[in-house]
Symmetry: C2
Subunit: 630 residues, 2 copies
Amino acid sequence: MNKPTNQAEFPTPTVTTGPLAGSSRVYTSPKAAPHLKVPHREIELHPTAMEPPVRVYDCSGPYTDPNQTIDVEKGLPRTRIDWVKARGGVEEYEGRELSPLDNGGATGKYLARAFPVRHTPLRGVGSAPVTQYEFAKAGIITDEMIYAAERENLGRAQALHDAHIRHADGESFGASVPEFVTPEFVRDEIARGRAIIPANINHGELEPMVIGRNFLVKINANIGNSAVASSVEEEVDKMVWSIRWGGDTVMDLSTGKNIHNTREWILRNSPVPIGTVPIYQALEKVGGVAEDLTFDIFADTLIEQAEQGVDYFTIHAGVRLAYVPMTADRVTGIVSRGGSIMAKWCLAHHKESFLYERFDEICDIMRAYDVSFSLGDGLRPGSIADANDRAQFAELETLGELTQLAWKKGCQVMIEGPGHVPMHKIKANMDKQLETCGEAPFYTLGPLTTDIAPGYDHITSGIGAAMIGWFGCAMLCYVTPKEHLGLPDRDDVKVGVITYKIAAHAADLAKGHPAAKLRDDALSRARFEFRWEDQFNLSLDPDTARDFHDQTLPKEAHKVAHFCSMCGPKFCSMKITQEIRDEFGSARAPNTSLAAEDLDQAMAEKAEEFKAKGSQIYLNDKGETREPID
Amino acid sequence: MNKPTNQAEFPTPTVTTGPLAGSSRVYTSPKAAPHLKVPHREIELHPTAMEPPVRVYDCSGPYTDPNQTIDVEKGLPRTRIDWVKARGGVEEYEGRELSPLDNGGATGKYLARAFPVRHTPLRGVGSAPVTQYEFAKAGIITDEMIYAAERENLGRAQALHDAHIRHADGESFGASVPEFVTPEFVRDEIARGRAIIPANINHGELEPMVIGRNFLVKINANIGNSAVASSVEEEVDKMVWSIRWGGDTVMDLSTGKNIHNTREWILRNSPVPIGTVPIYQALEKVGGVAEDLTFDIFADTLIEQAEQGVDYFTIHAGVRLAYVPMTADRVTGIVSRGGSIMAKWCLAHHKESFLYERFDEICDIMRAYDVSFSLGDGLRPGSIADANDRAQFAELETLGELTQLAWKKGCQVMIEGPGHVPMHKIKANMDKQLETCGEAPFYTLGPLTTDIAPGYDHITSGIGAAMIGWFGCAMLCYVTPKEHLGLPDRDDVKVGVITYKIAAHAADLAKGHPAAKLRDDALSRARFEFRWEDQFNLSLDPDTARDFHDQTLPKEAHKVAHFCSMCGPKFCSMKITQEIRDEFGSARAPNTSLAAEDLDQAMAEKAEEFKAKGSQIYLNDKGETREPID
């Protein structure tokens, strides 16, 4: 089973490799676990900066490391399987038999080639800890916790010791972002339920990461084929592409045929946690007829996907029968696919949702593989008009109840959130989630702050995402420009990821994350000093920044020009400011201010000096007058 | 003078005309002034919507009206000159002699062709009211006030009477947005200094509009050639292009040669207020040497531009000598061009700024033409590190002092604001501006909420713009994707404008503007009912929305398909919701909720009905089962 069933033309996925411009992937080994190699990205600066490389968080995987051999047919190294086995409590077993239904009954040339390698699955046995939550509760620090802690710390040691850096300020709304992240801090946050490490024991390729409001705000990128468009190789490429630009996790939302095989290719090549919505595949297995769904088909699908290594499942167990009529007066009703499937099932049977009624059995499956819950917001608002209504909050209260159940069962939990919410109603979402769900991490889609800009919903939602990230949301699910209109292509995925990296970073800054501002400051210094290449390389998207610059000033010489392409040489305010600094900077100690009455004297002293230099703006690096470039 | 001085090849600017998709430009005549024809845009909906057209604010000018003849060589009709003359207090006069320096000394083929028509300028005489502020203070309601009031009201009458619409809620942070805007309300807001109508008496082509925090949030688009790139015809085209997509005002930031002639072409064809930064042209006149600037050259430039009809001037009179050293320790120093020019002048002369010292004389010029002040924030922060520092706030306090002076002189005033500000420091900017500047309208550039995304600064700043708009900012100056990197082209201008329309609208929604939600609701209903064309046409950018949809589902048939292109037919949650509504909607009065205990009964009643219909998802408009489209 699970071996190639046909030899139809199935191109090997080609993925983008190589470092980002000016960057290299580096590794550190935590003191607590020297056998771990934890990745970071370092951005090299021009020698004139006289600054060390800027270290930034890296979720791009081995693809950006030229020293690694990438073979998509083999998948990434499964290093983590050793960690899991080493701590025990798990068994290898034959695993579930692959059924043709798992790929939607596709055969012959319609069946996508299976991933070439078959790995025997693991599952938890007995009562020994299996999940990160159970280890954390037992006071045990796992390799995953050490690994995640090490990643989070980039720049913090430097920030604490670097005299240039003004201390970060911010308003954290009750978050407790530490000066330095220790493995013990990660363990404690997980034990409190305030953070998760989505890390299925079968996802050996994973580079573990932590999601919680006391850590860097994370982002998720959605990929997935649909009945209408796209292919397996496109989806693998989109996964690699989305993590290249900063996707912390990836959700495979595939529907239609080949759903099993697509997922296998993605998982075997993914260093980031993969999430799915298992009800999509379950629905395929019953021919798309929601009322034919059963718990057994659903549970079997959970096991199928858990054996593959999916790290978190969106499960819409909060869509209760009694809440469905609350949506009838909405402008846009139920907009969650999973929510509407369950609503339909409830209606058709006039029974309580089997996801809700048999939630404890679902927990048992989740626990055995350490699949994290992402409790779905099936009744999230799909329009400004429906935001924060009774249906939405009734479901959220149920998700809070289920969170407690899942924790009792040893599972990790995060909570999904909206959706479409005007700015003045965003904070109420965050506050209610924290209160209702025991501070379990919140994971929102946007929210979109207006409905009137299809084609630009990465922006309508980026606004809401930045705000809710600031207020305490732990992970932001991206929205691409194609939202509401079509399936995102590679360009859309990149724009969505970059937009959400902006939102997440803006949130980190506003929360007062101790190291977030390091990168802003480094880039701003580069901007001020006309280190164009450094400015490009420090940006979230160096290629686009460079390209935009070159559209106005294409010549290589302009990248060392001492003026901005917008203003031209005569109007370069930064150049003028450098003169001001030359006037005043040297006479002053950092962070002191001259009182107004001292200024006249200082000015008088500097007056002749300025004129003696010839009052020239256009000096080259050697202080020589040079002609403006026209 | 001012007639064509050469016959060099100068292409007549070609501009985009014709209505936006699905829209038509309509006019209403206010009761208070039946001779006025006030424009709006109406978006026609599909007959199945059974809804009236959606009326939206229109600043696109006659260009979107197919019944108007556009001749860029003649300019737009100068209707407003009659209003100005009718109320008296002004005189026609010969006007200032055009100097070759006004076009940077360009000659021969380097000199752009002058605008073909020369209009005799007007100026105020004596002590009769000239400015909107003076009329307002005198209790006189001008045509401009009536016109602006009429534009603001779109949808409000409908909103107040339409039973479908739930009342707008919101958090206005102390703003007093009225249910309905009357001319008297506009007058009162102007008299209090809380709003301005930028309307130079020489800008006869203007369609007046009001800027203030109790009105719709406005946006500004910057255009302008520079020493490095672009031409006159490109700039006229950009002006028309930017107002087509929603630019409420346009700033011409041209530098270099041909600055006078470029501006004349823009003004004669602009129905929106035009703003400039006169110090740019003054600097050109002294060969780019800041220290050679004099008050006389500056004042002469103000008169030159005022005679042309510029509606507001950015004047950096708050950059005082004593504040310059406060910027020496900044990461990015002074980033405002105007601010840095004045700082350099102050340094070179070691004297107080002539803009500050002779502010009363500047006021006299501004008043004579009713040019509004946009008091420039020359010391705005250019990086996250520099936000809300002493230099920035010291200048803001001076702007508050100058606001009082300008009001005493009868001038209209708004205040420019930052810049680069992390989210948690944005509200402090708004609060301090309101307090310091007597509630004069705030007009901010963004602010950018992080420095690390050059190439995406429309987004980093759109986040901050939406927030500060919510907090009370009256106008948002757009930022394009090229910010920090290059000069915006047409595409960049459009992306910048749409992004800022999103920010402004999100702010209106969050403030609880009584009519803002109408458009969101109309679009969301269209989305829910699969009226694809309506969804496109109601969006801020119908062309892009349609194009994105067609990339996934190109066929015309799919625009009436009852599923979204993302999900495919089986997963269409909106379709499922329609079934829920069919189940429950008819049994319920609007806005009531069934208690949980009532549900079982309701469900039991509906159960057989649902099954009797065949439990089918895929029904066409006639209720017939149809095949899913694959």
